[in-house]
């Protein structure tokens, strides 16, 4: 405010001086312009030589507005082309090529290292008690179908997505430009269409299992004992899903919904979002995806090599009764009516 007023005052003063000078000494002014030489030193060069400035309007402010993305008019159909400089793109680039890529790679590398370390220290988590040879059904065919649709699409989405973020620095030098570009092109196609299978899978997952995933007091105990993951023979009681599985469920539902939402915004450019929003959605999409991949890597580990008997739940849907007693004692009680001894291994309750 003060600065503007000062500038205005100075401008008026200069203009007045210029006018007065011009009126009083027309001959001197003209000769100084024409002849040049030392007389030039007396010309007030701070005064605007011609009226190029509109009163009350600063050209610098005008250019500054352009720099900040002010939109002009264009005669072509694409009115967005009226934006001369969109600076948000530079911020997008800085975040994507900077912290997003860097922290993302640390996170993925970190989770792989942690899982490897866990495997080295703890080994495969075995069924502690004696196997019964009998199984009970944990997931029916429809549930398994939903799981594998979600899982299968997620794996393709994750790999093709990571390829877009990191492929240039990893696969490209190995494959060469043209094979890598072709691969990435198909990856992009797969990513764009399988996204819908994933969204459907997440929605069905939510409907199927939300009832079993409401947090309960047992989850607190489960977390306090770290699910018995780090100690042999410790098996905190759990219903159909234990605390850890509930974390996976809610990550999948919330993360999947966020990925689906941001993904749809990006797949239909400008249908729902502006340029700036799309840039933010892209960053959010990638960041959430990296976290999800890290969580799902842990899920894949414990559901396959990490634990004996776990894969069968999503394999043929039939799990070893003893496995179920150890990991989902309350669920076994609900389903079979038998009383399972909680908290530690030992002889079965029968």
């Amino acid at each position: 405010m003060e600065g503007h007023r000062m500038k205005a005052a100075v401008a008026v003063l200069l203009l007045a001086v210029g006018l007065a000078g011009g009126a009083a000494l027309p001959a001197a002014a003209q000769s100084s312009v024409r002849v040049g030489g030392p007389v030039d030193q007396h010309i007030d060069r701070d005064a605007p030589p011609v009226a190029n400035q509109i009163p009350g309007q600063s050209r610098a402010d005008s250019w500054h507005g352009i720099r900040l993305g002010e939109q002009g008019t264009v005669s072509i159909p694409n009115k967005q082309a009226g934006v001369l400089i969109q600076s948000e793109g530079e911020a997008w680039r800085a975040v994507r090529n900077g912290p997003l890529s860097q922290y993302g790679s640390w996170m993925l590398g970190g989770i792989l290292a942690l899982l490897a370390l866990f495997f080295l220290l703890r080994g495969r988590i075995r069924i502690d008690g004696e196997k019964t040879g009998r199984t009970i059904q944990r997931f029916n065919a429809f549930e398994r179908g939903v799981h594998w649709m979600t899982a299968g699409s997620f794996v393709v989405l994750a790999i093709s997505g990571l390829n877009v973020l990191y492929g240039r620095h990893t696969l490209l030098p190995l494959l060469g430009p043209q094979p890598f570009a072709t691969l990435t092109q198909y990856g992009k196609l797969a990513h764009n269409y399988l996204g819908f299978a994933f969204i459907l899978g997440v929605a069905l997952t939510f409907v199927l299992w939300v009832g079993h995933n409401i947090p309960s007091r047992h989850d607190l105990v489960w977390f306090l004992k770290a699910g018995g993951l780090f100690s042999k023979g410790v098996h905190p009681p759990a219903h159909k899903f234990n605390g850890g599985q509930k974390i996976i469920f809610w990550s999948t539902v919330v993360g999947g919904a966020a990925l689906g939402f941001t993904g749809v915004q990006l797949i239909f450019p400008f249908s729902f979002a502006t340029m700036e929003q799309m840039q933010l959605f892209q960053l959010a999409h990638a960041a959430i995806a990296v976290v999800m991949i890290a969580i799902i890597l842990a899920h894949i580990y414990i559901g396959s090599i990490g634990m004996e008997g776990a894969f069968a739940a999503m394999g043929d849907g039939q799990v070893e009764l003893q496995w179920a007693r150890e990991h989902h004692s309350l669920w076994v009680e609900d389903v079979t009516g038998e009383k399972v001894r909680h908290g530690h291994h030992g002889t079965p309750a029968e």
């Binding site: 024409r34 030039d40 011609v50 877009v164 430009p177 570009a181």
Partner: protein, 236 residues
């Protein structure tokens, strides 16, 4: 080695759109794509200015930095070109570019944008110079013919300058000194901030009000202001 740059003098551009037309015709640009466009700011108001803008061929090109398949390359003359055979139409260069240069031939749901197209500084692409394949994908390669981009060559008021940065700067500097005011070397601060900072010092767009000192005789003089012929030759 020359460093190719565009400069649009906003004090001279008259919004005739000849650059746009010349570009479309010379390069046979696909429908819906405008490699160059003319933007009017403060349209119809005092202080109206028009600017012709295309790819600025940035030193540290954001498009090149974010491309997932690394399809961009920069020639020895600083021109940013891309390989349409590698482009997957992901739209990342379009997100990153400050000047809205990258465009796509299709509307683009499900990522079906097609191959990105942008200004090539009239210097084609990775194909053999002036081959049919190069022309079909990228348009004319005038640089290979020893000519400058047609947009600038056609410009009726020579508002749009294209060519070696030193020469463009020299011409522009001379203009600014002659008219005694005004920067309007639009976009240079965004496109050409380079590592050493030398390029910036050399650029003509440094200050808003030049003509206080500087080269040339009688820099403060306004041509024709006093009436009659100047007794001394003035730098225009």
């Amino acid at each position: 080695m020359a460093r190719m740059k565009f400069l649009c003098d906003a004090e001279r551009c008259i919004e005739c759109n000849a650059c746009v037309t010349a570009c479309k015709n010379e390069n046979e640009v696909p429908w819906g794509i405008n490699r160059r466009r003319v933007v009017t700011i403060n349209d119809g108001k005092p202080g109206e200015r028009t600017i012709s803008v295309a790819c600025m061929h940035c030193s540290d090109a954001p498009c090149k930095a974010v491309c997932p398949v690394d399809c961009f390359y920069q020639t020895d003359e600083g021109v940013v070109l891309h390989n349409k055979d590698l482009c997957i139409g992901c739209g990342y260069c379009f997100y990153a570019c400050p000047f809205g240069a990258p465009q796509y031939p299709q509307a683009g749901n499900f990522g079906s944008r097609g191959k990105m197209d942008k200004c090539t500084f009239c210097s084609g692409g990775p194909e053999i110079d002036n081959s049919d394949a190069e022309f079909k994908k990228y348009g004319r390669n005038r640089l290979a013919e020893g000519k400058l981009p047609l947009c600038a060559e056609m410009c009726s008021t020579k508002a749009l300058l294209a060519g070696d940065a030193d020469m463009v700067s020299a011409i522009y500097r001379e203009r600014v000194v002659a008219r005694g005011f005004g920067s309007g070397a639009w976009g240079w601060g965004t496109a050409y901030q380079t590592r050493s900072g030398q390029e910036r010092d050399r650029s003509a767009g440094g200050g808003m009000f030049q003509g206080t000192g500087g080269p040339g005789p009688n820099p403060g003089a306004i041509p024709g202001a006093g009436g009659g012929m100047p007794t001394q030759k003035q730098g225009l």
